[in-house]
Amino acid sequence: MKNPLDSLRSTVVLGFVLTVVMVLIINAMYS
């Protein structure tokens, strides 16, 4: 399987995905 970090584009996309995941986690902690 290809490592997403080998592509700069995938790296940046993953960064935004992680941000959304983090926001959802924080939301869940305070709901």
């Binding site: 700069l8 960064g15 902690m29």
Partner: protein, 169 residues
């Protein structure tokens, strides 16, 4: 304006932001500019990067990272949220502590990547430390993955830290 305890909390935030700009600016230079450009440079001209530009950029990059984490920890301590933030706000049930805490953990992991993974391996890649070709290739791979990881983590890190002070509850 009084030079009181509250002033120093701001002062260290200023130093922390400047250090962070130095660090992340150079991180993004490596990932968005230098690495994608290397394949386009003729081999004879690559030493301009590997012998001159990269070592200088790496100096300010790694010391920017060191300064960022030190001023950040001092700032958190002076503001009284160091422990609560690193506990992700679970100790004081504060969303602000959770937000800045996520940022601090991401930043700490990124600092670790710089000083434990990227810099020691870049010394081998650039020939600052002499190693054989196999070890050099392995070192290049580790440094590259660590640098991409930090690029990826810089995105949620900046969101988390900015939201701690600037996102209304």
């Amino acid at each position: 304006m009084h030079i009181d305890a509250a002033y120093w909390t701001f002062f260290f935030r200023w130093l922390h932001i400047m250090s962070g700009v130095m660090w992340i600016g150079l991180l993004w230079y490596f990932n968005f500019v230098q690495t994608p450009s290397m394949p386009k440079i003729p081999d004879a001209e690559k030493p301009a990067i590997t012998k001159v530009i990269a070592p200088t950029a790496l100096f300010w990059f790694r010391w920017g990272a060191m300064s960022t984490i030190i001023t950040g920890i001092i700032e958190a301590y002076l503001n009284g949220y160091l422990a609560d933030a690193y506990s992700l706000g679970l100790t004081n049930h504060s969303i602000q502590a959770t937000r800045i805490g996520f940022g601090m953990w991401l930043g700490t992991i990124m600092w670790f990547n710089v000083w434990v993974l990227i810099w020691p391996n870049q010394k081998k890649v650039l020939g600052i430390v002499q190693v054989g070709p196999d070890e050099k290739k392995k070192a290049a791979r580790i440094a590259a993955l660590a640098s991409r990881t930090n690029t990826m983590l810089s995105i949620p890190m900046l969101y988390a830290m900015a939201s701690a002070s600037h996102l209304p509850m």
